[in-house]
């Protein structure tokens, strides 16, 4: 199944290397998607653990603590790195 990937917020340039879409086996989960996305990132490119996660518009927690739900074909996995610029 195809999963759309959206990233925004802090460290945008680093995250620009993430793919816009990934392919998972049927029944794949959020953690499967995150593993695929981050396994090849260098240490200084890793996403912040406080990065918010959402699936198709529904917030599910942070990178550090989230619901590891199953994904559906064409779901959008949204990653929002914390932003505090005033």
């Amino acid at each position: 199944m195809k999963i759309q990937i959206s990233y925004t917020g802090r460290s945008y340039q680093t995250a620009a290397i993430l793919p816009a879409e990934i392919t998972l086996d049927d029944g794949g989960t959020v953690d499967d998607a995150l593993h695929l996305l981050t396994k090849d990132l260098a240490d200084d490119q890793q996403l912040p653990m406080s990065c918010l996660l959402a699936v198709s518009g529904e917030h599910i927690g942070t990178l550090a603590s989230h619901t590891n739900q199953s994904l559906q074909d064409r779901d959008e996995l949204i990653l929002i790195a914390p932003v505090a610029g005033g």
């Binding site: 925004t8 917020g9 945008y12």
Partner: protein
């Protein structure tokens, strides 16, 4: 970002605006601070920003506080306000304002930016997720980061728009949602936020 928000609220005729901003106007502010200018470099921000706001609308009462409120001051200010807009540079300050709003039971709007991206969170205490539901601990402080003034103005204006909607009872505020604008790609995303059952700030409300 607080500058454009305060300016839009004042120009919109909101009854009273209280701005709190410490420090003096410095040149790195000039790329986004619509309330300042090169003429006031080196002067206390709050004082000049207050004067500028008063010059924009004589019917709006403007109060300027020349430092960032501590927790006690934030709680006292919240009791005198109908809504809080949060635009400071650190999560510690944002979480402090969020807590003051939750404890006073008034709406809270958090606006933030990075580079060409902006985010907006609208909180209805006791009913929707608060900022501490999302960030139980403040994410690491980033002292130096890119900011494009256009995204400050856009996000600050959207925060003011949400405030005007809430105060006037017009439209559908973004209660419990995070709106992100990715200016790099011109993409708007809205996320429905979840309350955290064990949130130390709002779970008992």
């Amino acid at each position: 970002m607080g500058g454009p928000a305060a300016l839009m609220l004042t120009m919109g005729g909101i009854g009273r605006v209280i701005i709190a901003h410490g420090g003096d106007m410095i040149s790195p502010d000039l790329n986004r601070q619509v309330l300042g200018s090169e003429r006031v470099l080196g002067r206390p921000r709050a004082e000049d920003f207050g004067d500028y706001l008063r010059s924009m609308n004589q019917f709006v009462e403007v109060e300027a506080i020349g430092h960032e409120p501590n927790a006690t001051e934030a709680a006292e200010l919240a009791e005198r306000c109908d809504i809080i807009l949060s635009c400071p540079p650190t999560f510690e300050e944002r979480l402090r304002l969020n807590r003051a709003a939750v404890e006073a039971g008034i709406p809270f709007i958090d606006a933030a930016q990075w580079g060409m991206t902006g985010t907006l969170i609208v909180v209805k205490p006791g009913e929707t997720a608060c900022l501490e539901c999302l960030y139980p601990e403040p994410p690491p402080f980033e002292e130096f980061f890119p900011v494009v003034g256009a995204i400050s103005a856009a996000t600050g204006s959207l925060a003011a728009l949400e405030a005007i909607k809430i105060l006037s009872g017009t439209g559908d505020p973004l209660w419990g949602k995070m709106l992100t604008y990715d200016g790099y790609r011109g993409k708007v995303t809205t996320v429905q936020l979840q309350r955290r059952a064990l949130c130390a700030c709002c779970s008992s409300r």
